[in-house]
Symmetry: C2
Subunit: 112 residues, 2 copies
């Protein structure tokens, strides 16, 4: 007698991914880095609402989790950029599905 019901929580794939991408800003940062590497000041301009603190904090956790790579030019005044890692790029299909869901959802609520 098998239990075909799938209990979820602790360490399931959905949880793993939402932990990595949770919060208000991580997906937006990943999305902006997808076309090309960007310096922090460029990111800030593309995501005007983010505070400097959150930008640094989220970049750090994205680097720590391996989705983003920091490149230091070693110049003075400081120059760095951030780019997606190979695994970071693999978040793009999630973002694409989220975008197409949003379109469908907006249609839905417009039509009621």
């Amino acid at each position: 007698m098998e239990n075909k019901e799938l209990k979820v929580t602790a360490r399931c794939p959905i949880r793993t991914t939402s932990d990595l991408l949770s919060g208000k800003w991580k997906l937006l940062i990943l999305y902006q880095l997808a076309p090309k590497a960007l310096r922090p000041s460029q990111l800030k301009r593309l995501i005007p609402d983010i505070s400097e603190k959150m930008l640094n904090q989220e970049l750090k956790t994205l680097c720590d989790s391996g989705l983003v790579v920091r490149y230091n030019y070693g110049e003075v005044p400081p120059k760095v950029h951030y780019e997606l890692s190979a695994i970071g790029y693999k978040t793009m299909p999630i973002i694409a599905e989220m975008q197409s869901f949003a379109m469908a959802y907006e249609e839905e609520i417009k039509t009621n």
Copy 2:
């Protein structure tokens, strides 16, 4: 001269979707409801870590946003169930991508 850079934040598709699915539990609830409608007590058994309060609260916001539909049998003692709406089902591709991302990510960190 066009601005090809895509500023994000306020009302962009990524934000719309993450607002709808944000939090620790919504995706897990949607995932459990996908195969079949469930009563709250069944959901609670499938997601053991969730508190009753969060379950009710999240079911309510999922109903309010139209992703889930509540069906009341009108019996005493109370009997209800929750099921995905048509638009609720359209979150499944997002979840599928999140699952396959998690697999790739786990592989990645195992290999270093």
